[in-house]
């Protein structure tokens, strides 16, 4: 996985739940690109069109709360979301995102420091977030190294494949 990503911001508020990220009626879909067509449909049916060239989501508190559906981060990843930064995450969403190789970063104060459309660059290795539009920067604590390894391997399955094959 690329350890540095850039892109324009699409901003959301607090408590964005996985039902609005991917409504329950689409859980019978299997292909991640089919899931992506409905990403964030509960809040903005135009989201997949906006995200397709690559975006960074900035959320408020408790991003991804509710259902454990892994189809929610999958839908985001395959719609073009490169990274989600939020004030805090619901823990299942956080783990799911890492496990499928969608980078997630907890960053206090990020909501107030960015606006829709701002150009962000995130460096996962250094934990630095730069807002090229207004010049603000954030330094977040690095993820524990085993989590970084899962992300750099591309997800938990790839990580397990590598670990098991090594044995």
């Amino acid at each position: 996985m690329n350890m540095k990503v850039s892109g324009p911001v699409i901003k959301f508020g607090n408590n964005i739940d996985t039902d609005v990220i991917l409504p329950g009626k689409y859980l019978i879909l299997v292909d991640p690109y089919d899931l992506a067509k409905h990403a964030l449909e509960g809040l903005d049916p135009a989201f997949p069109a906006k995200a397709k060239d690559g975006v960074i989501i900035v959320g408020g508190k408790n991003f991804g709360c509710g259902s454990s559906r892994e189809q929610a981060p999958l839908a985001l990843k395959y719609s073009g979301v490169k990274c989600v930064i939020a004030e805090s995450f619901a823990r299942i969403f956080f783990r799911n995102a890492i496990n499928i190789g969608l980078p997630v970063i907890e960053c206090k104060g990020i909501s107030e420091a960015v606006s829709d459309g701002d150009q962000l660059t995130v460096n996962f290795e250094t934990g630095k977030i730069e807002n090229a539009t207004n010049g603000k920067t954030f330094q977040v604590p690095k993820l524990p190294s085993f989590i970084q390894t899962i992300l750099s391997d591309g997800g938990l399955i790839e990580n397990l494949q590598r670990r098991i094959n090594k044995k």
């Binding site: 039902d19 409504p23 329950g24 859980l27 454990s68 892994e70 496990n99 085993f146 494949q161």
Partner: protein, 430 residues
């Protein structure tokens, strides 16, 4: 654990220490825990199976510890759902797993304890966020995603960050038609939907000790709606009685208690004696008001789900609705949480009571709770529901509204056609 040199721990810390082979653990510590049971259902299982196959291990780590339950899109409402079910049946067959198929089990969180898969003191993970329900039995139980479930199936282990704990101490006696659901809605209303984020929510106090297993399950079920990693209640004689004849291994109840000096990040106190029925308004579970402040006509009333589809819930709803009719223009759905609950409800005449009132009783499934199938809502419609989430689009149209309440409140509302205090309905009838 009586040794004074030992660290004081709460029940969640004790379970996680034991599961990771440590003498003690502290909040923030990351442990590699041995998993006792992993559960997947028909909407999270197929993705787990796909991931499992990619890992490249042939067999699950222990076929006695992996449980498959078909409950969300059952009976299959579409060819796509039928294909998912087929995938799960085949996987269960190939791996020799316990599978609860259509008509044999019911909603996963009801089936797991009923069928003896939940043992106090164990670590249970499930590919469903309401896996936290099993904390009602003094187990550490939490929701995970499909890929993580696949990893657990392959390795039998999971990394967990030991959570800080919030102690929620509840005292007082419930008034008539005020229930565990009203209490948990009240707690979430005060704490907020992220009030216990990343934390363990431990429920203590006289009210919890006197509460039935069904009520405890309702409370722990909704721990995730306050953001908690797990909800937990110390097991006691009530737990023992429920588990008798269900669980083979006798758990060590004595060690499953929080130490007197266990550390909590926060302690909250609640008293239920004066609590009135509560309603969570759209579209967040913490938008909670007393029923007296909610004036809302409804199109649908739903009694069921892993939160409130148990026998005790159906008895309460039947008591409210008996001899009355569901209001014209309103449809009422009743879905028993499991086949066992369905059979008991049938034997007690509850199914007849609901049917006579004009409610439709469906086979055990998740139903409209997650908007998968059975009883979805059209744009502009309103449902009052005993389930656990009222998010935008949760039960169908993104333009529909969902209010959450107890089985008594939902039953009373079905009769009047608007959200109604069950105590007032009874007073009127007299």
């Amino acid at each position: 654990m009586e040794n004074r040199e030992d660290k004081n721990m709460n029940i969640t810390e004790k379970i996680l220490a034991k599961a990771s082979g440590k003498k003690s653990v502290s909040p923030g510590e990351i442990v590699d825990a041995n998993v006792d049971v992993v559960m997947v259902h028909d909407l999270t299982g197929p993705l787990a199976v796909e991931s499992f196959k990619k890992i490249g291990t042939e067999k699950v780590w222990d076929n006695k510890k992996v449980v498959v339950i078909l409950d969300h899109q059952v009976p299959a409402e579409s060819v796509k759902a039928a294909e998912l079910h087929k995938t799960m049946r085949q996987f269960a067959k190939d791996q020799k797993l316990r599978i609860y198929d259509v008509g044999r089990g019911g909603i996963c969180h009801q089936v797991m304890p009923e069928q003896g898969h939940v043992v106090p003191g164990t670590v249970i993970v499930g590919a469903d966020s309401h896996t936290c329900t099993y904390g009602a039995f003094g187990a550490f139980a939490t929701g995970i995603g499909s890929t993580e479930a696949a990893a657990v199936m392959a390795t039998g282990k999971i990394w967990l960050k030991v959570p800080e704990a919030i102690k929620i101490d509840v005292n007082g006696k419930f008034g008539k038609y005020v229930t565990a659901k009203d209490l948990v809605l009240n707690i979430i209303g005060k704490l907020g939907v992220d009030g216990a984020i990343y934390k363990s929510a431990e429920f203590t106090g006289q009210t919890m000790r006197e509460m039935s297993i069904a009520g405890r399950m309702t409370i722990c079920n909704m721990a995730v709606e306050m953001g908690a990693k797990n909800g937990i209640i110390e097991p006691d004689a009530t737990t023992k009685e429920f588990l008798q004849n269900r669980v083979k291994k006798k758990p060590d109840f004595a060690s499953l208690k929080s130490d007197k000096d266990a550390v909590y990040a926060q302690t909250l106190e609640f008293n239920v004696s004066k609590l009135e029925p509560q309603v969570a308004c759209p579209s967040s579970v913490d938008k909670v008001k007393p029923v007296s402040e909610v004036d809302m006509p409804i199109d649908q009333a739903f009694i069921g789900s892993c939160t409130n589809g148990r026998l005790e819930d159906l008895r309460l709803a039947a008591q409210v609705i008996k001899g009355k009719k569901v209001k014209d223009g309103v449809r009422a759905l009743v879905i028993p949480a499991s086949v066992e609950v369905y059979k008991q409800a049938l034997a007690e005449g509850l199914i007849e009571t609901f049917t006579e009132a004009g409610a439709v009783v469906c086979g055990s499934a998740c139903g409209p709770c997650l908007g998968g199938h059975i009883g979805l809502l059209a744009a502009g419609e309103t449902c009052v529901s005993t389930s656990n989430r009222n998010f935008i689009g949760r039960m169908g149209s993104t333009q529909a509204s969902v209010f959450l309440a107890s089985p008594a409140t939902v039953a009373a509302s079905a009769v009047t056609g608007k959200i109604t205090d069950p105590r007032k309905l009874e007073a009127k009838a007299k």
